[in-house]
Amino acid sequence: MTAPSAPLGLAIAIHLIATAGSALAAEDNVIIRDPTFEQLARLTVTSVTGTVRPQFTSPAAAYVLTAEELNYVGVRNIPDALRYAPGMQVSQFDAARWSISARGFNSIAVDKLLVLVDGRPVYTPLWSGVYWEQHAWLSQDLDRIEVINGPAGSVWGANAMNGVVNILSHSTRDTQGTALTLGTGTEEKVFGSFRYGGAAGVNAWYRAYVDYTRRDDTELGNGQSSGDAWDMGRIGFRYDRDDDANRIFVKAEAQSGDFNQPGFMPSPTPPYQAPPPRGYNRGGFVQSSWSRRLPAGADVAVGAWYERLERRLQPTDERSDTFDVGVRYGTQLGGAHTITTGALYRYIKHETASTFQLTFTPPNRTLHQWSVYVQDEIRLEDRVGATLGVRVEDNPFTGLEWQPDLRLSWSVTDQQLLWAAVGRAVRTPTFADESRRFITEVSPPGSFGPGSPPVLNEVLGDRQLQSEDLIAYQLGWRGRWNNNAMLSASVFYNDYDRLILYEPQPLDTMTLAPDFWRLAVVPVNRGTAHGSGAELAGMWEPAPRWRLFGTVSYLDLEVQPAELQLATIIGGSTAQVQASLRSNLDLGNDWELGVGLRYVEDLPALNVDSYVGAEVRVAKELTEGVKLALVGQNLWEPRHAEFRSASFPIDPYIERSIYLALTWRR
């Protein structure tokens, strides 16, 4: 099967949340009429049509976007894909930066979402956010993106607080042969990818791939170019072996990207600001796992990965080495219990280059982190199940953290499922929370009265911080009809405590005198928040060649205490209502038509208006294996803004765009 040979953590979460269940809508419903055994044995397999859906019986707010259906509306990057997932909020800030959050806390530095690529977590240890520019472009061999809203800390550990995004590529078994894509457009000036996949003996396959994208500038409010164009290239290799008892997975990839950086950075001398240097993101990783099936349904797996990253992108300049190793064991006890248990160890060596704008004390850190987890899936009765999980994690910032989780599911009928969950998740403090000194702006002399020196506006760190804490209560329902319609609804109540907010300090005229005065804010665990909301996702296949996908999300997030400015900003940066609709229509004669529409409500704290995004893709298969696609994106209006932040004082707009892509497969 298309197993993304789940490196450790992955396999577990998937146990919890997502295996195929309802499988609406296969890709090409090729029906073989009047088969014979001889004929079937001769047929070669073109593709795996099985469209993986969140397991119908999974007790979580899970949603799956398959590569095939994303391609249908011309989506080229992960942020654009996530705009169509319920509960996710995507705000593009400039050409290379996105804020992507689940169930609230949209900000310039989203730190409560865990993202995994083929099972490897890709958040930065610096501040536990995701460097989206590095992972943005969809791989030609993407299989699907799984989105799980709500905490999954018992499975994934700290930082899987508000949601998990699993990006999974196809097994190399399913990517045999050559695939080439070339394209050009008004925003994505040039892009291309090439892949070759072959067999490596019996039950073993590989692929090698490269891709490249050059992205144009966004536009400023005054119509001028923002100066944030960038390009990124990737080269990689993957190997899968899958025999009767063993599964081996090896993946290696390297990336190199160069960035024009918009705006300016603070500087100690007049005019107290300077253009940022060119940015870059270079690095690579190797990843491997091996799992073995044991008798009586048990299995054991080990996996490890190493990643090197060198990155200079506003405001950080950093190098890091991360090494991660884990083991997992799964077994069955007494028929009713399925136990999964495992342990993980992670080593991070992180170095930063100090600039006037941003320093860390000390600049270089080494971090050891381990965790153990156990999960029991219990079959209470034929139609009732429970999942109990707990994870204990030791981190150098706050010591031991417990993250328990309880889930219940009840199959009311074969067509309907009710589930409920309650769990605790934490976000542990990071290097940045502990030790940063970030100068956001230098107020020129005289700003604070006649004769005042320049004033540094600073965000500082604090070593006494505790973990941010969430207890989440969720309830969900899923129903399906005739295998061509499915509806899923979830409601949740999130109770946050000890949120990190920033407390302004009085003007400090002593410490840095006589050169500067200082106006600082320091992090404090003083925030509390209540988030309540609902997500609705539906799929309907009105005709065999036509699929509709719709989502509606509602979220009410209130952060206290109101006297801390950030509390109000967080609340007012969260879209209360979002909705989306996609239509994938096969017109026949090798023509395809995809239409996507989405609505995001206004963000009062960011001065962003509500907007509608629209995508249209028309594609035609010219000859077998050659497809030409014309895609329009953000068609609704000439341009719109999605995010404004005081931390990056430029004002970029996302423009209407089109691109043309030619794909060749054989």
Binding site: I14, N29, V30, I32, P35, L40, G297, A298, D414, V616
Partner: protein
């Protein structure tokens, strides 16, 4: 933008199957149709002589609507065919054919699969899986893919002991098409 709405409501058109290649689950659905024609169930497995052969997908469903469309309107041994999706083995006891998929996201031989097979053992239920080692855990038929020169073909293997225990008989025409027939309990 009103034209968008109109475009979305254009009627859909069916494509025909290609001859030499087909998607994996279209082929597997074809096999399942044939299995219902070449496996004999005890009469007691049916309430009436014209009761349908019930084909069930247990757990994850990789077929989408392909299986339904393949079996729609077909007769096997003068019986109509019906497709059901069930989430636990208890409900699957009422089926005549049970397909247990190797979901892309679960361990290939998940503990759940062997538990399901145990529950279904000795019932007149033809069990079909996708991972060969389940043949040692009581699965009767198993799809395997044969890879040759970068191209995959779908075959199946059959295990006779569990079929005998369940009172099922596979015809010899079907068994010659199998890549391998396990006549004794395979393995140790």
């Amino acid at each position: 933008m009103r034209w968008l709405a109109w475009l979305m409501f254009l009627p859909a058109v069916l494509l025909t199957a290609t001859a030499s290649a087909a998607p994996e689950y279209s082929i597997k659905a074809g096999y399942i149709l044939l299995f219902t024609r070449y496996v004999e169930w005890p009469a007691s497995a049916f309430a009436t002589p014209t009761a349908p052969i019930v084909v069930c997908v247990l757990g994850s469903d990789p077929f989408g609507s392909v299986l339904d469309e393949t079996l729609a309107g077909q007769l096997s041994q003068k019986r109509p065919l019906s497709v059901r999706r069930v989430s636990d083995a208890g409900a699957a006891e009422q089926c005549h054919v049970v397909f247990i998929g190797a979901s892309p996201t679960q361990p290939p031989a998940s503990p759940q699969t062997s538990q399901w097979l145990d529950t279904l053992a000795n019932h007149p239920v033809l069990t079909i899986t996708e991972t060969p080692e389940t043949l040692q855990q009581g699965a009767m038929l198993c799809f395997v893919s044969e890879v040759e020169g970068g191209q995959a073909r779908i075959r199946f293997e059959a295990s006779l002991p569990p079929m005998h225990r369940a009172g099922l008989t596979a015809s010899s025409q079907m068994l010659v098409a199998a890549r391998k027939v396990h006549r004794e309990a395979p393995g140790i």
